[in-house]
Symmetry: C2
Subunit: 223 residues, 2 copies
DNA sequence: ACAAAAGTGTTGCCAGTACACCCATGA
DNA sequence: TCATGGGTGTACTGGCAACACTTTTGT
């Protein structure tokens, strides 16, 4: 058990699917690859794991440096370890999902000019490198399963939001339409949200009340 | 992104929490450590991952060789990557849960004499090495969350079983008592099981009907 | 006044729960 | 015949789904 040889050493990369809400749409952050192979294709953010840092430290540091987000919510997803998932080199990917609210995205810190990044609607994801499309698919699936049994989406809505906005996000992730009245009833009756007393005026139609998630709500499920 | 140095190489081990049912009790398989440090303590089965095998191949091969199980059901659990989770050496643990029915346990193949192993009731787990107690705790939690929304436990019951037996397993994992009549109603109404026509006679009290899981039932949740 | 979008109330159904009685066997 | 444990039926309840009308704003 304690015998290590050359074959026992592996390259590990952490890859993260960062989601946010931009103009009511659920989006994922991708970087553009700069060199061959797959030059110009899109890819998930992430980097090789050093042997002096944990998975969580690695991805937090990376995200801060390269995306400028200091308060990203992170959860582990799956490990992808097929021998040939990356050509030429054997690289194991440990993957995470990250959630960040749009306000924190706007307030992001300095990031390198050299990185070309873009938020993509989860329904129109471009061609990505290696097995990243598979990883993204699993990440969205993970998110979908998660929001059914937990209130994880509050990580995407720390600031004031309207119930119709929240509903549209649920509809995008679950990929089905929900009833306005029942949706409201569920959230209000569970005591997850509270009225801020403000309204978002200035749009066509009746202004919607602004809500916020209560602070003291804990996650329900670990997985 | 493609620059690797010495710091980029890591030792990865796969560790697996294998569960079965033995005499109605949910049990987990542990090995006994043979050398210092922690000599004599118990530990999860698992081994270092070579760079020519996937996580799933690695753990399947290991389990076959060292536990003798050829048809173990496996799912990924969490990754543990704290720098000092193992003393002296940096080792990352990717963990899995495994489920095997008691009949397959009895029919297991040859395994090395040198391995000392034992099935422990999940309520009375002995002292384990490193962070294995934490890993075991999370594995049980994973299993608990899983059986609520899926029929994963059919992996533990491929052969005939009685409903009271099945119920007791649910009660152990969920750690709460369930109503006999409602439990039966749920499984029968969902069409997950079918009557084999046999009974388990020879015990005190009325004999229980023997059921089996239907073959065509798929998993419902991925996570 | 009209259009657009948000807010509200009622009803029915199904799943889960609580609970009491009967049945088949071994001793 | 009694003890033991398994099988069955009923009534209640709360959550979810289906559905139509009213309210508040901008134009």
């Amino acid at each position: 058990m304690n015998n290590y040889n050359n074959d026992s050493y592996n390259i590990i990369e952490t890859l993260i699917s960062i989601f946010t809400i931009e103009k009511g749409e659920v989006k994922i952050l991708l970087f553009r690859k700069k060199n061959e192979p797959y030059k110009g294709y899109w890819m998930l953010p992430g980097k090789v794991l050093n042997n002096n840092e944990s998975l969580e430290e690695n991805i937090s540091d990376y995200v801060l440096e390269n995306c400028g987000f200091s308060n990203l919510y992170i959860e582990q997803c799956l490990v992808f370890s097929d021998i040939d998932r990356v050509p030429d080199k054997r690289v194991i990917a440990t993957t995470c999902i990250g959630l960040i609210d749009s306000k924190s995205v706007e307030l992001k810190q300095e990031i390198p000019d050299s990185i070309e990044s873009e938020w993509f609607n989860i329904l129109t994801i471009p061609k990505t490198i290696y097995d990243h499309d598979e990883i993204i698919k699993k990440s969205i699936e993970y998110l979908k399963n998660k929001i059914i049994n937990s209130n994880i989406l509050k990580m995407l809505f720390p600031s004031d939001f309207t119930l119709p906005e929240l509903q549209k996000v649920y509809e995008q992730i679950l990929d089905k339409e929900l009833d306005r009245r029942n949706f409201r009833k569920k959230f209000v009756s569970q005591g997850l949200i509270e009225d801020t007393g403000y309204k978002n005026e200035g749009f066509s139609g009746r202004p919607a009340k602004l809500y916020r998630f209560k602070d003291d709500i804990e996650e329900m499920n670990l997985f």
